[in-house]
């Protein structure tokens, strides 16, 4: 009986974060949605079916009680997407996957929207320097820096779930830092590394910002 209720609780929580809200995007890639709905439905059905089964005196495993923990976490804490705490290290951001094979198209628009991953790829892996002198717009959250006169616009990149998240960061110059973790759109120009600067990939690339706009958190918080 209690074990069936446990399954109903678990299935219900999974269905809630995938159908009623889009909270599941805080934890996994969008592609997981239908897998999660199917799994949640199976768990829920098993639980409901168990309610009608007659008791045979066999108690379920005690360890199953632990399944209440993620359910409590979802309902009580409602864990937010990973933010500046997870991106706080001053190290160079990870080199985004698959950048080596990407051909970079010329930027023709007056201001080009791009992901931070693409910015890192163009800053580090583009021998034609297609980004030099072009205005670009990045979306991310603000992360303070220990270095003077700069802060970071950052976004986490996930391949599967938040446990494998890696921070992507660009150092922003020339504008006052917004509040930590505030979601922003930053418009600015890439600062190509000077002579004698550390090699690409060892420090976050820099941009000089001309505009910083505060925005609400995007529905899909990860890149």
């Amino acid at each position: 009986m209690t074990q069936s209720l446990l399954l109903i609780l678990l299935g219900g929580a999974v269905l809630r974060i995938t159908t009623v809200s889009s909270e599941y995007l805080n934890y996994v890639k969008p592609g997981f949605r239908f897998l999660l709905i199917a799994a949640g439905a199976v768990v829920l059905i098993l639980g409901v079916a168990g309610l009608f089964k007659k008791e045979d005196g066999h108690r379920g495993p005690g360890v199953a009680w632990l399944l209440t923990l993620p359910v409590f976490a979802i309902f009580l804490i409602a864990p937010p997407p990973l933010g500046s705490y997870a991106a706080r290290s001053e190290d160079a951001p990870a080199r985004p996957a698959a950048s080596a094979l990407t051909a970079y198209t010329p930027l023709t628009k007056p201001v080009s929207d791009m992901t931070i991953g693409e910015f890192l790829g163009r800053a580090w892996g583009d021998s034609t320097q297609s980004m030099a002198g072009k205005q670009v717009k990045l979306t991310g959250f603000a992360v303070p820096s220990k270095k003077d006169g700069q802060w970071y616009v950052a976004r986490m990149q996930i391949a599967c779930c938040a446990a494998d998240a890696v921070p992507l960061k660009v150092a922003v110059l020339g504008m006052p830092a917004p509040e930590e973790d505030q979601w922003i759109e930053v418009t600015g120009t890439w600062v190509p590394p000077k002579e004698g600067a550390p090699p690409p990939g060892t420090a976050a690339p820099e941009m000089t910002a001309v505009d910083v706009t505060e925005i609400p958190q995007p529905v899909e918080p990860y890149e």
């Binding site: 074990q3 069936s4 399954l7 678990l10 999974v14 974060i17 599941y24 805080n26 934890y27 996994v28 997981f32 999660l36 199917a38 799994a39 949640g40 199976v42 768990v43 098993l46 639980g47 079916a49 168990g50 089964k53 066999h58 108690r59 379920g60 495993p61 005690g62 360890v63 199953a64 009680w65 632990l66 399944l67 923990l69 993620p70 976490a73 804490i77 864990p79 937010p80 997407p81 990973l82 500046s84 705490y85 997870a86 290290s89 190290d91 990870a94 080199r95 996957a97 698959a98 080596a100 094979l101 996930i158 391949a159 599967c160 779930c161 938040a162 446990a163 494998d164 890696v166 990939g201």
Partner: protein
């Protein structure tokens, strides 16, 4: 002492006497340790305030949510194997000689497109249907590492380095088969905890039991992995990248700690640019076979006596085979 020896064996209660239905203490002790660990972080590290807890809870929920579909799929498949596939099918499908059945089962792992959470209940279902444990274990180890989804993800994560995916396939299959053979030669049946199903358990009942049981242990593993994920800063690692053996061991241990789904670990490995290809191969080979959530799942499914032998064996073989494969292929 003397009196005890004189008790006839028939009167000695079975090992599991009086334990029926009670939770075992292992996981609770484990949780207490983790709780103390977390508490210690709050006491000793004042900077670890609520953002740390929120980051922890996000990673914890993410691991549970991400694993659930695969766990449900694995439990469903396992229950289907138990309910609908007659035991005679396996005796026909697998070679009679167990030493041959091990590599066949290892290669068969390539067809189950799931991650490690699915393979544990499936292997348990196979054993309960009379498949040689050594062969089922080879399948358990190989399927999350060499299935098409994982290999394609590895190719995508390492552009221009197709040998990484090849090396991963070769090394993972080799470890799975070697562990299977070693288990066949030295393993004892009593180390494996029998499934506690009633014989009359229905399809839904078997699924319900397995899901609750494995799910509970998945939560234990998720908590451990999330704790490590938050506590261990990755920049510590870069200090270890220079020495060949130390770097291989460091990334092998990182794979155990992070407990990343095998379909995503290649992307993390690709981001560990400070490390040699061999060390990153070790990360990819160890991760799907030994990690915290998997250890918890295996302990729950096969018992502690199995896990304390199986996990060190698999880990050391995975590291050794990775070094050999990396030296030859990468």
């Amino acid at each position: 002492m003397v009196e005890r020896l004189e008790v006839p064996p028939a009167e000695v209660p079975p090992a599991d006497w009086g334990r029926k239905g009670q939770p075992s203490f292992g996981p609770w002790v484990f949780i207490a340790v983790l709780g103390l660990l977390l508490l210690g972080q709050f006491v000793y590290a004042p900077y670890l305030t609520s953002p740390a807890l929120q980051t922890w809870s996000t990673v914890f929920v993410a691991i549970c949510v991400q694993a659930l579909p695969f766990l449900v799929f694995g439990v469903l498949l396992s229950a289907a194997i138990t309910a609908f596939v007659p035991a005679s099918f396996w005796t026909r499908a697998l070679p009679k000689r167990a030493a041959l059945a091990v590599p066949v089962a290892g290669v068969a792992g390539a067809v189950l497109p799931g991650c490690e959470c699915a393979s544990v209940p499936v292997a348990s279902g196979l054993i309960s249907r009379g498949v040689t444990p050594a062969a089922a274990l080879a399948f358990l180890l190989s399927s999350p590492a060499i299935n098409p989804v994982v290999i394609v993800a590895t190719v995508v994560a390492f552009p221009g380095q197709p040998m990484m995916a090849v090396a991963r396939f070769v090394a993972s299959l080799a470890v799975a088969v070697l562990v299977g053979w070693i288990w066949l030669r030295f393993g004892k049946g009593e180390w494996l905890q029998a499934r506690r199903h009633h014989d009359h358990a229905s399809f839904a009942e078997a699924m319900r039991h397995d899901l609750l049981h494995a799910g509970g242990f998945l939560v234990v593993g998720g908590m451990a992995a999330a704790t490590m994920n938050v506590i261990v800063p990755r920049q510590w690692l870069n200090a270890l990248a220079d020495n060949v053996w130390v770097s291989v061991l460091a990334l092998a241990l990182l794979a155990v700690i992070l407990s990343i789904c095998s379909e995503a670990d290649a992307f993390v490995a690709a981001s560990l640019t400070a490390f040699s290809p061999t060390a990153r191969l070790a990360f990819l080979v160890v991760g799907p076979m030994v990690d915290l959530k998997l250890i918890a799942l295996q302990a729950g499914t096969f018992g502690r006596r199995f896990t304390v032998r199986f996990v060190p064996l698999t880990f050391s073989l995975a590291v050794l085979v990775s070094v050999v494969t990396g030296t030859v292929l990468l």
